[in-house]
């Protein structure tokens, strides 16, 4: 326990001292019911129950388990060793309620009740009275199915930058939402910076994860990539997950750059011939300054009508800047703006925006017209002078 946590708990105990003297024993649970859906026969599911009290003394708790699910339920930590199951204000119990139905169970819904009871002894020495025990009844529903359900989500996917000749760390967290244990295969396809060529491919399995649980896998990627930025297509087919990540192979001692194109900003509506400002909001999330420039395109009816390129700006660590450019739409319709920020020879993820254009007035360019007329007049004069000279 670190110092910060200790301080917090100390203040917490003081609060208890001043706030818990009026009443009797308090008991709290969260949640108030446990519902296990689609549990496979012979399968596994778990959920958590938080049990707390307001007393600073150690409070022994009892439990009663009733209903058809009684034989399948176990606890972690075990509640059977009653002497050791104590809670107090600073020590709530986080109880894993585990369901493991038998293989031959019939499909259907099964219910049960878990009653958590505080153990208080009667405190009467004379007279008549009843001691009150606080209890909480948690309803348990278990839905048994014979159908294997594979369902999972992937999160926390990350590839960390590494120095050349070092291994790159890959992280991914698997949340098993199905009812069978899973260790799905991950496919990584590493592309070069321009995402033109696959330079490395690797397949492996995430760590086996029980139903209703979550587990994080760390894996070191063995590659021999040169210094540079790479993009990785990540596919976990079993979980229906596809993602794109980037990482860099750095020179020895090189600091990692990390910039993010947060969004592309532009007014959503404009008129034709308006000069529309387009800004890429870029944040330098690294610890070194980077030179950043926005490069993008404006697409109209699947045709690129404008190349966007902002001035290059020096962006200091943690600084957020706007990289500006302008666009003059000439036709009515919807324009799609997309682009990336190039910073220190690296690319951000691509982002996009939409610009809707209505009909506006076409500006007249008097100066241009006058200039054109003047040029024509001068040319005619020159021709006349030349002819006159020839005649003479």
């Amino acid at each position: 326990m670190n110092k910060k946590t200790s301080l917090a708990l100390l203040s917490f105990l003081l609060l208890i001292f001043f706030t818990s003297t009026v009443y009797g024993i308090g008991l709290g649970v969260s949640p108030a019911s446990l519902h296990y859906r689609n549990v496979l026969k012979g399968g596994y599911a778990q959920d958590q129950l938080a049990i707390s009290t307001d007393t600073s003394d150690n409070l022994t708790i009892l439990y009663e388990l009733k209903g058809s699910v009684t034989d399948w339920i176990s606890f972690e930590p075990s509640l059977d060793d009653i002497e050791n199951v104590v809670i107090s204000a600073d020590k709530p119990l986080f109880l894993q309620v585990i369901v493991q139905p038998p293989q031959d169970i019939q499909t259907g819904n099964y219910t049960g009740e878990l009653k958590i009871i505080t153990q208080q002894k009667p405190q009467f020495e004379s007279g008549m009275g009843s001691a009150i025990r606080a209890a909480f009844l948690i309803k348990i529903t278990v839905e048994i199915t014979g159908e294997q359900i594979v369902s999972c989500t992937i999160g926390g996917v990350e590839l960390k930058d590494s120095e050349i000749d070092q291994l790159t760390s890959f992280f991914a967290t698997l949340n098993n939402k199905g009812n069978v244990r899973l260790n799905p295969e991950v496919t990584l396809q590493v592309w070069d910076q321009l995402q033109e060529n696959i330079v490395h491919t690797q397949r492996f399995n995430l760590e086996q994860t029980l139903p209703t649980t979550t587990k994080t896998t760390e894996r070191l990627l063995d590659h021999s990539l040169d210094i540079g930025q790479y993009w990785v297509d990540i596919v976990v087919g079993e979980c229906g997950y596809t993602g794109l990540q980037t990482f860099s192979v750095l020179d020895r001692g090189q600091l990692s750059d990390f910039g993010e194109l947060i969004r592309i900003e532009n007014p959503p509506w404009a008129l034709t011939y308006d000069v529309v400002p387009i800004s890429a909001v870029f944040k330098n999330k690294g610890d070194t300054s980077v030179s950043a420039r926005f490069r993008g395109t404006v697409t109209y009816n699947t045709r690129v009508v404008e190349i966007l390129e902002s001035d290059e700006l020096l962006v200091r660590p943690k600084e957020t800047v706007r990289l500006d450019d302008f666009f003059e739409p000439l036709a009515v319709g919807q324009y799609f703006i997309s682009g990336r920020v190039v910073y220190n020879n690296k690319l951000t993820y691509e982002k996009g925006a939409v610009l809707n254009v209505n009909l506006g007035e076409k500006p007249t360019n008097t100066t241009l017209l006058i200039t054109l007329v003047l040029v024509i007049v001068i040319l005619v004069l020159l021709i006349l002078i030349r002819k006159k000279k020839k005649l003479s």
Partner: protein, 1071 residues
């Protein structure tokens, strides 16, 4: 037997013919009885003769016996002949038959036929018997009837298998008798005799003196000679055709020098080869002798004696040398007869001094003559001499002495007379050639002047020689640059001192002296680097250098040490925002490290990326470029801080100026309310004679309007915006005011425009304009005419602006703090990102934040935070259900640019469940802030707190107690219901209470949610949980606890004795 004899005779004749005939021969093939096919076979044995003249009458009759008369009757006698292995050309084949008919009549005859390849070829029409005597029938086939060309031996031997003798009888019986039959083959036998070759010139073992060899030969053969080939050294060389039989013939071939064997091989037309195996030898010699001159070599300077020793050698490849002559200066000086080859041939010739040339001519026994190269020769023979390699020497130098033309191996005495009269003698011995060499080393303090060297042969002083040389003073001294700055190194170089000896360097300067000893190098030079400290005393430094061994070798020089003042400069003082600033520093610490800072002097902010480290070069200088791209205009400084000597720190100043632009425009004369008027063209040029006259109405104002335009990026930082007007007014005309149009609204601008009576240039500043307003600016200048007044005149309008940066100019300075991460959670580990509340008490939660500051963590001042329910906002007022504020988060350490904060909160047990946000705001010392949020889920929480006891105290038996209240508190954030069950000691024991004696049944203890209820109407406890469905205890929302009472009464029965206790379980459930 007779036939055998004939055959033998024929064979003898045949052999004889074969042996002695050279052209046509003939053979006779007799019948081969065993292969005769006509029946009876044995009869053919009687017609086997081949004797042309003698027929033995042994006959074979071809009769028609037993055969009925036929008009034409033919009998065929078939026979073949013995094989013969012949060769040669078959000229013709003749079939000969001796036969006789018993009837001599024109109707009786025979026809000679032959069979070839199964076909019959009749020789001629039938020949008829003219008598009954035996007569010869013949037919000659010159060509094969089968092929129509000459016969072949295979046709003779194989193909002629039968001869048909046709007997054509009359109607009566005719008998032909065949006595003999043979086949005669006439042929020409082949030629098997090889040509006979005899060799002619050249004769054996003779020389041939050119490279085209001609040989003669004669070939004799029975047939024509097809070709003949010259064979050299057993290798076929040259072949000629059409050689005449028995005629001397010539073959020519190109040949190199050497010894060759030769013969000729000839082949006749029948491919018979004949060679003369008695070869002849011919020696081909076309080269003259080869002469090599050896001594004396070319361009030799002959000094040994008047007699020159010549030596050469000569060789010839094919023959001997007849003679050689030594030619000197074109004249034969000596002759060598039949000299031996390959050895040194020599002779001596006396020659006068001077230039000569010499060569050798040689002739070989075949008369070939050759001359050698011509060598030059100089004869220089003199008497004894002595000399030195130079005429002048410095002190310390070495005199190389040479002697020549002395008698060999004698002692020569050398006597050196110094310039100061000192004499020095020593001996040398001459070589076999009369030379000697000697050296004399001059001391570094050797007296200077002229020295005489006299040499003579010891014991023969008549042979002597003399030479002189001079000894000069050895130049020595020291050089040093005239002046140095502090911190530099004075390079002191000395020369002319005695090599490898110690030299003292004495540097005397104001208030000090530096003495150093060095060892001179091999040439007497020294190099001394004197370090001049950065705080060295200024002034003149005198340098004295002297050789410790030779005091005559010394030198002096001096240098001045000047104050070192670092300079820092830029190549310009003013820069446009897109220009490079070249920064040059000088006189900093040599190879030192500098910290270079560029600062905005207005805001005192540093340029991005600065300070930077710069390294001075070996002179303490540096040059770097800094691009001012997009920097906002202003005053700037560059400061170089010397990390080694702070006294050298220097600062230079420069400006980044705005870009100046201007726009002239036409103006419009507009009366108030008229809208846009007529374009006026007279205001384009200042100071000209054209004016726009603004005719005004009495007592009214009127104005001129002008529009200016630019196309600046909207983010451009506009520094100045000034409208110039050059104008004057007439009598009673006054400038009234100046306006610009802000969108659609005209706004008056306060500016110092007057009402000049002469043409005057004035302006009005609109520095508040931004780029968008500058891009399209409308202005109006108003005049007022008093009654009776005149006109106003405007000569020129112009709009000048200045702006900085190409578009968006970069303001320097520190960045706002950046909250990099926020983590909102409780202190309980099991489930991250969820908060589980605690029953009835405050639950501590935290928001941990990491804050970054570009200028360092020290400039991060503080952090505060709010946590709030997702339907609320960060700036809402605090509410225990939905919003909490922590105004001072605790610092939790810092490192580098990061500072961590912990923002602790204690949330009540009744806060709303669902998503909560934490918003952490960091504040830096400059007052800038940044915020970041994180969310967490506060779980639904069910909790109760109940009065611990239901204390009835003492109740009379069979009496009812007053209401005893058990209070239930909702200590969670969700509504709850309640179940009640009771037992005495153990669950399901069937009693409400256990007394000292007996028990109290369930009916004795009752409860109600309302107070004051009669006991009878209250609900008795039971051992089975009973849900109080209307309990519905809502969650607490403010300081007032959310409670509900349960009222209890006890009515003990009359059996109960003593104390009675029981247990009531209050079970909460989610509502």
């Amino acid at each position: 037997m007779r036939k055998n004899r004939v055959s033998l005779l024929l064979i003898v004749i045949l052999l004889f013919t074969l042996i002695f005939s050279t052209s046509i021969q003939a053979i006779v093939l007799t019948l081969n009885a065993t292969t005769a096919t006509t029946t009876p076979l044995n009869l053919w044995a009687q017609v086997s003769e081949a004797n042309l003249g003698v027929h033995d009458q042994s006959t074979f009759s071809a009769t028609r016996t037993g055969v009925a008369y036929e008009t034409t009757k033919r009998d065929v006698l078939h026979a073949n002949f013995a094989n013969y292995s012949g060769s040669g050309t078959i000229n013709n084949v003749t079939l000969i038959v001796w036969a006789a008919s018993d009837v001599a009549a024109a109707s009786e005859g025979i026809t000679l036929q032959i069979y070839l390849g199964g076909s019959a070829y009749p020789g001629a029409p039938a020949t008829y018997a003219t008598s009954t005597s035996f007569q010869q029938f013949t037919y000659i086939w010159t060509l094969s009837p089968a092929t129509g060309i000459a016969w072949t031996w295979s046709e003779i031997n194989s193909t002629i298998s039968n001869i048909d003798t046709i007997v054509s009888g009359r109607q009566d019986i005719t008998e032909w008798q065949v006595d003999a039959m043979w086949l005669q083959v006439d042929y020409s036998p082949p030629d098997l005799v090889a040509p006979n070759v005899s060799l002619g010139k050249p004769d054996n073992n003779t020389f041939w003196l050119n490279n085209l060899l001609n040989v003669n030969f004669t070939a004799i053969d029975n047939s024509l000679i097809a070709n003949c080939t010259l064979i050299l050294n057993d290798t076929r060389n040259e072949t000629i055709l059409n050689v005449l039989n028995n005629t001397e013939t010539n073959i020519s071939t190109t040949i190199t020098d050497g010894v060759w064997s030769w013969t000729v091989n000839c082949t006749d037309e029948n491919n018979n080869e004949g060679t003369n195996f008695t070869k002849k030898i011919v020696k081909v010699d076309t080269q003259p002798p080869q002469i090599k001159l050896e001594l004396p070599g070319n361009n030799t300077d002959w000094t040994v004696s008047p007699s020159v020793f010549f030596e050469f050698n000569v060789t010839d490849r094919m023959t001997t040398i007849s003679s050689c002559e030594l030619i000197v200066d074109g004249q034969e000086k000596d002759t060598f007869s039949s000299p031996q080859e390959g050895i040194a041939l020599n002779t001596s010739v006396s020659l006068a001094n001077g230039q000569h040339n010499w060569s050798v001519n040689c002739t070989d026994s075949n008369g070939f003559e050759n001359s050698s190269l011509v060598y030059n020769l100089t004869v220089n023979f003199f008497g004894p001499a002595v000399s030195t390699n130079f005429p002048n020497y410095e002190q310390g130098g070495q005199v190389n002495i040479s002697g020549a033309n002395w008698n060999p191996t004698v002692t020569v005495t050398l006597r050196l007379n110094w310039s100061n009269g000192t004499i020095e003698l020593w001996n040398e011995t001459t070589s076999a050639s009369g030379d000697f060499n000697s050296t004399y080393s001059l001391a570094f303090n050797q007296p200077t002047g002229s020295y005489e060297l006299y040499a003579y042969e010891f014991g023969n002083e008549a042979d002597n020689a003399t030479t002189t040389f001079n000894v000069n003073t050895r130049p020595s001294g020291v050089n040093v640059q005239n002046s140095y700055f502090q911190g530099e190194f004075a390079l002191i170089t000395g020369y002319g001192f005695s090599p490898f000896n110690n030299v003292t360097i004495d540097i005397v300067y104001p208030l000090g002296q530096n003495i150093t000893n060095l060892t001179a190098n091999s040439t007497g030079g020294i190099v001394y680097v004197f370090p001049i400290g950065y705080s060295a005393i200024l002034g003149l430094y005198n340098v004295s250098v002297f050789d410790i061994l030779y005091s005559n070798l010394n030198g002096t020089d001096n240098f001045t040490v000047n104050n070192r003042v670092a300079t820092l400069s830029t190549d310009q003082t003013d820069y446009l925002p897109y220009e490079n600033v070249t920064i040059t520093g000088q006189w900093y610490t040599v190879n030192g490290t500098l910290s270079l800072t560029i600062r905005d002097e207005d805001s005192l902010e540093l340029a991005p990326g600065f300070p930077i480290t710069v390294y001075a070069n070996s002179t303490g200088g540096f040059v770097i470029d800094w691009n001012a791209t997009d920097t906002c205009f202003g005053n700037f400084s560059v400061m170089a801080e010397d990390q080694n000597h702070t006294e050298l720190n220097a600062t230079s100043y420069f400006n980044i100026t705005e870009v100046i632009a201007y726009d002239n425009t036409l103006a419009y004369a507009i009366s108030e309310g008229d809208g846009q008027g007529t374009t006026l063209s007279n205001v384009l040029t200042p100071g000209d004679s054209n004016y726009e006259t603004l005719a005004l109405t009495n007592g009214q104002t009127d104005y001129l309007q002008a529009n200016f335009s630019y196309s600046l990026p909207l983010t451009t930082d506009v520094k100045t915006a000034r409208v110039w007007v050059q104008h004057y007014v007439g009598t009673k005309i006054n400038f009234d005011h100046f306006e610009w149009r802000n969108d659609s609204t005209w706004q008056t601008v306060s500016c110092a425009i007057t009402s000049p009576v002469s043409n005057t240039l004035e302006y009005c500043d609109l520095d508040f304009l931004n780029a968008s307003q500058v891009n399209s600016l409308d202005i109006r200048i108003f005049y007022y005419r008093e009654p009776g007044g005149n006109d106003a005149y405007v000569d020129w309008f112009q709009f000048n602006i200045s702006y900085g940066g190409g578009g968006t100019c970069t303001e320097w300075g520190d960045l706002s703090p950046s909250v990099e991460s926020v983590l909102f959670d409780d202190f309980f580990a099991p489930v991250p990102n969820e908060i589980d509340l605690l029953a009835g008490i405050l639950t501590p939660v935290y928001c941990n934040a990491s804050v970054y500051k570009f200028s360092g963590a020290a400039n991060i001042d503080s952090a505060n935070a709010t946590i709030y329910y997702y339907l609320n906002k960060s700036n809402d007022a605090d509410d225990n259900n939905t919003h909490y504020t922590q105004t001072s988060c605790a610092e939790a350490g810092s490192a580098g640019n990061y500072k961590n904060f912990t923002c602790d909160f204690n949330v009540t047990y009744y806060v709303n469940n669902g998503t909560w946000w934490c918003n952490v705001t960091a504040l830096d010392t400059g007052g800038y802030t940044d915020s970041l949020i994180d969310n967490v889920t506060i779980n639904a929480f069910y909790a109760i707190n109940i009065t611990p006891l239901i204390d009835f105290d003492d109740v009379e038996l069979m009496q009812t107690s007053p209401d005893v209240i058990a209070t239930v508190n909702n200590f969670g954030n969700s509504q709850i219901d309640l179940q009640l069950d009771a037992y005495a000691v153990n669950d399901n024991d069937g009693y409400a209470m256990n007394c000292t004696e007996n028990n109290i049944s369930y009916s004795g203890e009752r409860y109600s949610l309302s107070s004051g209820q009669p006991f009878i109407s209250m609900t008795q406890v039971s051992d089975s949980p009973v849900t109080l469905s209307t309990f519905d205890l809502v969650k607490q929302t403010n300081a007032t606890p959310s409670t509900r009472n349960v009222y209890w009464k006890l009515q003990p029965n009359n059996q109960a004795r003593g104390n009675c206790t029981g247990i009531v379980v209050f079970t909460a459930t989610a509502s």
